[in-house]
């Protein structure tokens, strides 16, 4: 539907100063990037070192940068929404524009900020934690990144070219179908998510294979770090849940562009099947978002309490149990859709049950901290902030799980407050804790604590000020996705307070970014590779790790092997000896993953604007690149021993 006060000049959106501002920023940023790369003659460097890399450490860095940029983008969306809602009857944003903004806010935060943040951590930490030299399929790893990247490009340009999607991040039929929402907007959503979804499935397959098959000798499953275990659970969820997203979005796309009747309201279509299948993916997705955070917290709690995690076996078991149960709760997202009571009861009980293994984890973290020698570094600060915040969010989740009560809460601000509390208090706090924790390993310097503390306090205070009033607003009847509200309902004060909180959070983000910029120059350098006196194998390597990770693969004998060696004064056993070195087998860089991403981008543009010739060209490109890869006989090489010796000596390890 053409937006009310927005119009088109060809494909470019016109009529709104915010959009002109975005146009200008995009143009300026692009020119600046091209200028800097040309002036410092860095095009070849960009291609050789980053665009063609298959190294998990670099791919992790690219995911991290993307996640932080997207946090800024979707955070800006949030500030715009809260500005519009600060007072009743404002017209800062019209209804159509508001719809586009909450849609992209949700979509970008979940799929283009949180998911890449998780993939960043997986790439940065998992191979190092298990004593491996890379992931199982480095080429596929690169493909996954570039699919994500080009999908992010697709969703981000929709704002200025063609129009953003506007049917919510869940894009329900029939609203999102071609009858009620014609035009490219929704197609952008569908194609971007299809493309990034394929990348995500690749990552799930990759990390399951890596962890099950590439652990260092002696590292049995029950001797693995808990973060790695959390990624096993997450990868299982990804592999089993994402195909449902691929299918449901494809079917909606086929409805929209081919006139099919899966989810229409005529000719037998059933929009409720969309909702059913969307949440078959959607529920496991939110567990995909939280389990890595749980893994991160386990690492941080034990490291900064200087104690082995309490109840390792129950931690593993609870991760797997949460994964299992999460497949059997999806209908709680549509209790009010009208299924019968037996259906709603089953899903209500299952949804409440999932709180039990979660509770086990919380208690285990607390028991680990009890009588530990706690150091309040930034990762630990974020972890301690997570515990009460997420617990509260989880409790409101159990309230929502009571199906009859949910008839009151559903799609009100009570729900909005709940999911922000678990996503921010759980996922985001976990990602930030992990960022401070692993940053030295990746970049070789620590993030400055002073600025980090400013960011931490602003963000935490801002969070509670923004979201706790929203529970009350929900109970007072305020619905979600409303672009404005009338005065006289008693909603004004709480909305205004909530907006203040949002801006305090924004300040927190600015401090976070400033911390990064400041620390690049002034941050304490990590000279030992082990700034936190860590427990797991990644801390036995220099920071940053050499491109082959381990010169000699370690032999592991127990949980927290690195810590145990240090306790016994045996840490030198993990220093490589020249006599043990062999040539190291490494994969070659390749430009094909980048080109494959580009080909999918072309397919995406083709379907968005229904220029099918372009989509066909894109598909042919995909096919050609896949065949070219198949015909490649030697996509690998060996690093000779003297080069390894040279590198290790320069790092002071030999």
């Amino acid at each position: 539907m053409p937006p009310s006060h927005l119009s088109h000049w060809g494909l470019l959106i016109t009529g709104d100063p915010l959009i002109y501002g975005a146009d200008a920023s995009i143009a300026l940023a692009s020119i600046a990037i091209v200028y800097v790369l040309t002036k410092y003659k860095k095009w070849k460097w960009l291609w050789d070192e980053w665009l063609t890399t298959v190294d998990h450490k670099k791919i992790g860095i690219m995911y991290l940068i993307a996640a932080i940029l997207m946090l800024f983008r979707a955070g800006t969306d949030a500030e715009l929404m809260r500005t519009q809602l600060a007072l009743p009857n404002l017209h800062f944003l019209g209804p159509e524009h508001y719809d586009q903004i909450f849609t992209t806010h949700g979509t970008v935060m979940l799929l283009f900020m949180a998911m890449p943040f998780i993939f960043a951590l997986m790439n940065i930490a998992v191979p190092l934690q298990i004593g491996a030299r890379d992931v199982a399929f480095p080429y596929l790893n690169a493909i996954s990144f570039w699919l994500f990247f080009f999908a992010a490009m697709l969703i981000n340009i929709s704002f200025v070219i063609g129009g953003s999607p506007d049917a919510g991040w869940t894009s329900y039929a029939p609203l999102a179908g071609s009858t009620f929402d014609p035009g490219p907007g929704e197609n952008f959503y569908l194609m971007a998510l299809e493309i990034t979804g394929i990348g995500s499935i690749g990552t799930g397959i990759n990390f399951l294979a890596t962890i099950l098959k590439m652990r260092a000798p002696g590292m049995s499953l029950m001797k693995m770090p808990l973060f790695t275990w959390s990624i096993v659970a997450t990868s299982i969820l990804i592999v089993y849940a994402f195909p449902a997203l691929t299918v449901v979005l494809a079917l909606l796309l086929i409805d929209r562009v081919a006139g099919a009747h899966f989810f229409t309201i005529t000719a037998g279509g059933n929009p409720m099947m969309y909702i059913n299948m969307f949440w078959i993916w959607g529920h496991p997705e939110v567990y995909i978002l939280i389990l890595p955070a749980f893994g991160v917290f386990s690492e941080i709690v034990s490291t900064f309490s200087r104690k082995t995690i309490f109840g390792y076996k129950s931690m593993v078991f609870s991760l797997l149990l949460i994964s299992l149960i999460s497949y059997f709760v999806w209908a709680h997202h549509f209790f009010t859709m009208g299924a019968d009571a037996s259906v709603n009861s089953f899903f209500a009980i299952a949804s409440m049950l999932v709180g039990i293994p979660t509770g086990v984890k919380i208690f285990n973290w607390l028991f680990t901290m009890f009588r530990g020698r706690i150091r309040m570094k930034m990762p630990m600060l974020w972890t301690i902030a997570f515990i009460p915040c997420f617990t509260m969010g989880g409790m409101t989740g159990v309230m929502l799980a009571a199906a009859p009560a949910d008839y009151q809460y559903h799609n009100s601000y009570f729900l909005v407050a709940h999911f922000h509390q678990v996503l921010i208090g759980g996922t985001l706090f976990g990602m930030l804790a992990a960022m401070y924790y692993w940053w030295p390993k990746v970049f070789g310097f620590l993030l400055d604590e002073r600025w980090a503390k400013w960011a931490f306090w602003m963000f935490n205070i801002g969070f509670y000020v923004c979201f706790e009033p929203q529970y009350v607003l929900g109970l007072m009847g305020m619905q979600r996705r409303m672009y404005t509200y009338p005065s006289g309902l008693g909603w004004t004060d709480l909305n205004f307070i909530s907006t203040i909180g949002a801006f305090i959070m924004g300040l927190g983000f600015i401090f976070l970014v400033w911390d990064i910029i400041y620390s690049i120059r002034y941050g304490e350098r990590d000279l030992t590779g082990d700034p936190w006196d860590g427990r797991t194998l990644e801390w036995s390597l220099p920071s940053p790790a050499p491109h082959y990770n381990f010169a000699v693969i370690p032999h592991v004998t127990q949980l927290d092997h690195w810590w145990e060696l240090k306790q016994q004064g045996r840490q030198d056993e993990l220093r490589p000896k020249a006599s043990e070195m062999r040539p190291i087998h490494m994969p070659k860089n390749s430009g094909k993953p980048f080109l494959l991403g580009l080909a999918f981008f072309v397919v995406g543009v083709g379907f968005v604007f229904e220029w099918y010739a372009l989509a066909v060209i894109g598909f042919l490109g995909v096919g050609a690149l896949l065949l070219a890869r198949s015909f490649e006989a030697h996509p690998d090489y060996h690093i000779p021993v003297d080069e390894v010796v040279h590198t290790e000596t320069a790092l002071g390890r030999l």
């Binding site: 098959k213 260092a216 000798p217 059933n270 078959i280 209908a331």
Partner: protein, 112 residues
């Protein structure tokens, strides 16, 4: 990568065939199951529900025949056939998705 065993640990999940007996046997069995399914479904005068269960059962049997005889699903060169675990758990989720979707979507059963 180094290993932690002195000799390669190769379990007896591979068996060496001089003639593709497994494949032939699997093919004949699959043909028989398909033929029986066709006959029972089209010629036999049983109730609709009964036919449904029988042909579904035959389909599931054929899956197992093909998985073991064609795809060598339990073959592994080290210890544990993780792929079998993955497939079995996948089948559980697949059944859950299909059966529970049908259950959820048969609306109006309790609503007047």
């Amino acid at each position: 990568m180094s290993n932690d065993h002195d000799t390669p640990q190769i379990t007896k999940t591979f068996h060496h065939e001089k003639f593709p007996w497994q494949g032939i046997f699997g093919y004949i069995l699959s043909l028989a199951l398909t033929a029986f399914s066709l006959w029972f479904g089209l010629e036999h005068a049983a109730q609709y529900g009964v036919i449904l269960y029988v042909i579904m059962g035959l389909a599931i049997m054929q899956i197992f025949v093909q998985m073991f005889m064609f795809m060598h699903v339990t073959e592994t060169d080290e210890g544990f056939p993780w792929q079998s675990l993955g497939l079995v758990s996948g089948l559980v989720f697949v059944a859950a998705i299909v059966i529970m979707s049908i259950w959820i979507m048969t609306f109006g059963a309790g609503v007047s």
